[in-house]
Symmetry: C3
Subunit: 323 residues, 3 copies
């Protein structure tokens, strides 16, 4: 693996390999000194043109745990606004010795373009509504480890709920869970389904999913409730008139929680809108036998990103065995 642009580029074997390496990394993170020298000769540069401190710090922490040098380049700190082209910026940073770019940009396809601009490796940390592959991997890792399923999710029933249309998380997570065998239902109003679904009589080609417009219909039949973040800035569109209405139709309410299966789990990519997609007290999940995996998703993000950075350089696993 030279770059990580989209989970569509990876098959089940590739994804299982990354998750297995993440197991090693999780073991490293449990050591008294949670650090290995694997990438001590490498420089990892975060190139974030959209604000996301949590994702950036997760990648940078992962890089540091592998002993890589880290550089941070954010749009606000840069001269990009002053007319320097993005390509010049990338070429300049590569010429300074960057080995891996971790890039987030609002333009779908930008990370892929970058692979043609320089010899550095590129990891997509979110491009427009396209992909956020490490999110998909960390979700697959978190879910499969929580269920004790190894790298096989066959038969696991997942509902991904919310604004599928604008969500790169939905695309990447769906891909990762599907490839490992999970059965996925998208739950959203028609207006928040991807454009390919509009006016279609059946599920479009390339979407290995079921579709429902009613969370109530599926809530009692699933093993995994994956709630997407509702973007408030999209609330003014006609399809959802208010946060309250969204919550009433697609949020996790006390009523819905009481109908969830014992042993089922809740996931969310964060940051959460309390009172909108999550309208229950999270502490009450345990009373219903529902596990909250949200914190584990964050924690596992470090191990999974370590696995990705490590795998880019094709290093043998012996390199993570000692400090």
């Amino acid at each position: 693996m030279r770059h990580l642009i989209s989970l569509d580029d990876l098959d089940a074997h590739d994804i299982a390999g990354l998750l297995s390496t993440a197991d090693h990394m999780a073991e490293v993170l449990g050591r008294p000194q949670p650090k290995v020298p694997a990438l001590r000769t490498k420089t990892v540069c975060s190139l974030f043109f959209e604000d996301s401190t949590r994702t950036r710090l997760s990648f940078e922490t992962a890089a540091k745990r592998l002993s890589a040098e880290t550089l941070t380049f954010t749009a606000s700190s840069s001269s990009v606004n002053k007319g320097e082209s993005l390509r010049d910026t990338v070429e300049t940073l590569a010429a300074m010795g960057v080995d891996v770019f971790v890039v987030r940009h609002k333009t779908a396809g930008l990370p892929l373009s970058m692979t043609n601009w320089c010899d550095a490796r590129v990891v997509n940390a979110g491009d427009g509504a396209h992909q956020h592959p490490t999110q998909g991997l960390l979700d697959a890792f978190t879910l499969s480890r929580a269920l004790g399923r190894g790298n096989d999710l066959s038969g696991v029933r997942v509902a991904i709920v919310g604004d599928i249309r604008h969500s790169r998380v939905a695309r990447s997570t769906l891909r990762a869970l599907h490839v490992l065998g999970a059965s996925i239902t998208l739950v959203a109003p028609a207006s928040l389904l991807p454009a390919a679904f509009v006016g279609a009589d059946s599920v479009p080609d390339g979407w290995p999913v079921g579709v429902s417009h009613s969370l109530d219909e599926v809530i009692g039949e699933i093993d995994v409730l994956y709630l997407l973040r509702m973007q408030r800035e999209r609330m003014d569109n006609a399809f959802i008139s208010s946060p309250g209405e969204y919550s009433a139709h697609f949020g996790l309410t006390d009523g819905r929680l009481s109908r969830m299966r014992k042993g089922s789990v809740l996931m969310h990519p964060g940051p959460m809108n309390h009172g909108i997609e999550v309208a229950v007290d999270l502490d009450s999940l345990a009373d219903h036998g529902v596990a909250n995996l949200i914190t584990q998703q964050v924690t596992n993000g470090i191990a999974v990103r370590m696995s990705v950075l490590f795998t880019l350089f094709g290093a043998g696993s012996e390199a993570i065995d000692g400090q």
Copy 2:
């Protein structure tokens, strides 16, 4: 000590212990390689919701000298403005493996709340007008070492001058110096004394201080002149009509400098308003036998913050003996 929220939580023994550990740290800082491996397994995250580069860099330098990993999270770089709750931010960072948060926030009590949100340690780096405990410790350390007094300041007469009401520095420094035995007089117009003093006939309970409204009355009788920073943004209040008027009543002027005792010292938490609270040429202090401890306060801030971070983890002092 699991957290450092307020110096009110510490007694004389605790404070003396922190200052003695700071002596060790100062010795480390004087070595050719000013670094020890004591916290190399720990991650320290600065969480600054108020701008204070000097305090943040002081803590981060202290953490690096102890070989800790450092993460920086500032309000401007974060998604906090976009509706992510502070608690979610803290939980997320803790889930990524943060061991200590160093937090500054305008809300008094926020650092204490954080101790309930996650398992990480919390160091208060300034919360509203409440406390700034490491400032109190570094002031006590600087003063006692400059006077050659060990951890005993009994009999030392200190005037803390200026906007006591809004100053967390005043509260923390007063506490630290008082606990070590110093006699403290607050010098301020009535309107800049804490609310408890308003309309009171005598000094309120819990304030082990004398009070004066006249710097001229006390200037010749003190060993330590501690000037607070006058916040220009509070100048439009009725009590102080202009910087010039403030300086005339409560600033260090040439006239007052000439009345200071030989062997007395000047302290200030920085950054200083030249021409307001300090209206003399600082180079002229030496001519009057007055020592300027301001630079030592900054320098000692590193050693004292190393001591605090080190003490949080209860490590044995042998851990700072070698690289």
Copy 3:
């Protein structure tokens, strides 16, 4: 060398020494582990009051490759805007243990002033229209190594083209190339030549250069075409009415490229305005036997800045031989 403020302070021997040390550093950067412990006891603080992420990251990467601790202080992250004086900031950071300041500021002469404010070393990373000495050094290094000329550029004909008047790059690069023996022609409209040239009948004293107002006149006779960045914000002045007009007179166009000598080279300090000073496809340079050194300039910036930081501390060269 205690500070690096201006190349006017250095003679040919000094500059040659820095370039030879940069050769060692370039060798270090080619190692599997591109890092030496030379400055592991030092703290390097970037103090940038003008936005320049590329220069800042180049210096910080150089410092990290020498194992120095790095601190970043940028105007936007600081309290400088709130009335803290620059001198107080510098004194405060120095008191925290900074060994070297790398400073960029719009005021010519500020880095020199800083040398009087504290004991730390100072490296000028660009002050107003005055100097940008490491740019001059990296240009001299890149050119002499590309031409295989060692530290001797005698007989090499260089045209520096564009806004000489406002360019600190022009001043520093001119100095470095001239000292090593190159023959330099400034090419600019009269209004973009330095003030000393205005109304002068001949080249003013202290400017060891030829002057031309026509790039077409010199383009076929030079070994080095050094294009300066045209600042768009100066475009509204009378002398250059539009980017198109600038490009027509002083840009590298296809017509001019076809007249360049085989074996000649193109240089630019970056970031480039495509379509203005560079109005050709850079990939077409090779077809005309013209080498594009722009990426090498960026890459060599790391080695040259390592050389400067290393030389400030007068360390013996053995310190860079091993990890």
